[in-house]
């Protein structure tokens, strides 16, 4: 790639990748070459052999032009930032990814520990729930929020906090049914400590689901690709006009 090409790309929009693709073909770049260079372009390193990551990278940045050297990729990234105003939302480095991979199970285990042993040790359901959610947030920071959102089943995430809310509410109502006051845990056949642990599990599910959803869905924002599909789908179901989509 020459400086001339870079200058021409300055005025190009991100969307039209056709002539770049043609240029890459005349350069003799193969498909895999294009993928690798794309990864270099966005994140400054060649992605590992994880197919999901590579797919996510190409989804983040659907251009298919090739880059010859790292300096080319760098300079193009800067110029493109200035032109389009869009920046890579996460800086993905192998160090961060590896640390996140190693840390995540321990963070989740610590969250479960805080939830279940909050009755006798410092901790509790709020702390444990936030700790479990922060594991997902850590994954999102390390691997990017878009791949994380695609990895998490949104219905499962919503089901987590709906389940927590209904479990807590159900315990509150069941106490009335069993003849006590609302949320009176002494009327249940289980011991109070075990009932508290059950309530704590409900609270932790709700808190972790809410916080994970808060971060993941706010990071996704309003205009995303799959959001558009879903908006169209619900529009077809409801028959509403999609003037706001």
């Amino acid at each position: 790639m020459t400086g001339n090409d870079d200058a021409s790309r300055d005025v190009d929009d991100r969307g039209d990748g056709m002539d770049h693709e043609a240029a890459s073909r005349t350069d003799g770049g193969t498909d895999t070459d294009a993928d690798t260079a794309d990864g270099e372009d966005v994140h400054g390193y060649v992605p590992a052999d994880d197919p999901e990551e590579k797919e996510a990278v190409t989804e983040d940045n659907p251009r298919t032009d090739t880059q010859d050297t790292a300096e080319d990729a760098r300079s193009e990234r800067v110029t493109e930032e200035r032109v389009t105003g869009t920046t890579p939302t996460v800086v993905q480095s192998p160090v961060v990814k590896t640390v996140a991979r190693i840390l995540t199970p321990f963070v989740v285990a610590f969250g479960v520990y805080l939830t279940l042993f909050g009755t006798s040790l410092p901790g509790g359901a709020f702390q444990g729930g936030v700790m479990m959610a922060s594991a997902i947030v850590l994954i999102g920071l390390a691997f990017g929020f878009d791949p994380t959102r695609k990895w998490i089943d949104p219905r499962g995430l919503a089901g987590l906090f709906v389940l927590g809310a209904f479990l807590f509410g159900g315990i509150a109502v069941a106490a009335v049914v069993l003849g006590g006051a609302i949320l009176e845990l002494f009327v249940f056949p289980l011991s109070v400590e075990n009932m508290v642990k059950l309530v704590e599990v409900a609270i932790a599910a709700l808190v972790s689901g809410v916080i994970t959803g808060l971060v993941i869905w706010l990071a996704a924002g309003y205009e995303t690709a799959d959001h558009g599909e879903k908006a169209n789908k619900s529009e077809n179901e409801n028959g509403n006009g999609g003037d706001d989509a």
Binding site: G85, P122, V196, G213, W217
Partner: protein, 209 residues
């Protein structure tokens, strides 16, 4: 004595971090410093023997809130990994932006005198209240077991004295949250639930519910 020195060092660190957050021009740096500020507060909670609060402070304040701030910055002004690019883009956009018109270089913003006076008007009464409290661990501090004049236990004293025998577990914080004040916690969680549902509705993704 060592703990006292650590506490003073932490307090100085927290105040310096807060001042930096208030005046830093680099917004991502301010967010990261805010996380460090919250982490310092969390360590102070541990030194004040409040590990439950410290856990929440570290996880929510330093973790989730910072990430939400970062997401906000990414979604609005954009975030770059390179300072040169940020500075160049900022210099370009500053031309028509009246909010940052006073950015004549430098890493810190100028002091806003009316805002400083408002903060002082708030901080002086708050400082007076804090100084009028009993020191931590003092005999007549309200957190320690305390009785009314007629010998009846106050609520604080009741929870600390009777949590173990009434509920069967020793953590009085969780006992208050779930057993003694369970309805309040239920209301709190309904608020959190409503927040999550509201976000889905605002983003028009309520079809996943």
């Amino acid at each position: 004595m060592m703990w006292l020195g650590l506490e003073f060092a932490l307090i100085l660190f927290v105040i310096a971090a807060a001042v930096f957050v208030a005046f830093a021009r680099d917004i991502v740096g301010a967010i990261v410093t805010f996380a460090a500020f919250t982490l310092g507060i969390a360590v102070i909670w541990v030194l004040l023997a409040a590990p439950d609060v410290a856990l929440i402070e570290a996880a929510v304040g330093a973790g989730v809130t910072s990430v939400l701030f970062l997401i906000t910055v990414m979604k609005t002004t954009g975030m770059s990994g390179e300072n040169e690019a940020t500075g160049a883009r900022r210099a370009e956009t500053d031309g028509g932006n009246t909010a940052d018109a006073d950015s004549d270089g430098g890493a810190f913003r100028p002091i806003n005198v009316p805002a400083l006076m408002m903060v002082g008007a708030l901080a002086i009464p708050l400082g007076y209240v804090v100084l009028s409290l009993e020191p931590v661990g003092a005999e007549n501090a309200p957190a320690v077991v305390e009785t009314y004049a007629d010998g009846e236990l106050t609520p604080y004293g009741h929870y600390i004295e009777n949590t173990l025998e009434e509920t069967g577990f020793p953590n009085a914080v969780v006992a208050v949250l779930v057993v003694y004040r369970g309805l309040d916690t239920l209301g709190e969680l309904i608020v959190a639930f409503a927040a999550a549902v509201s976000i889905l509705i605002v983003l028009e993704r309520e079809d996943i519910l």
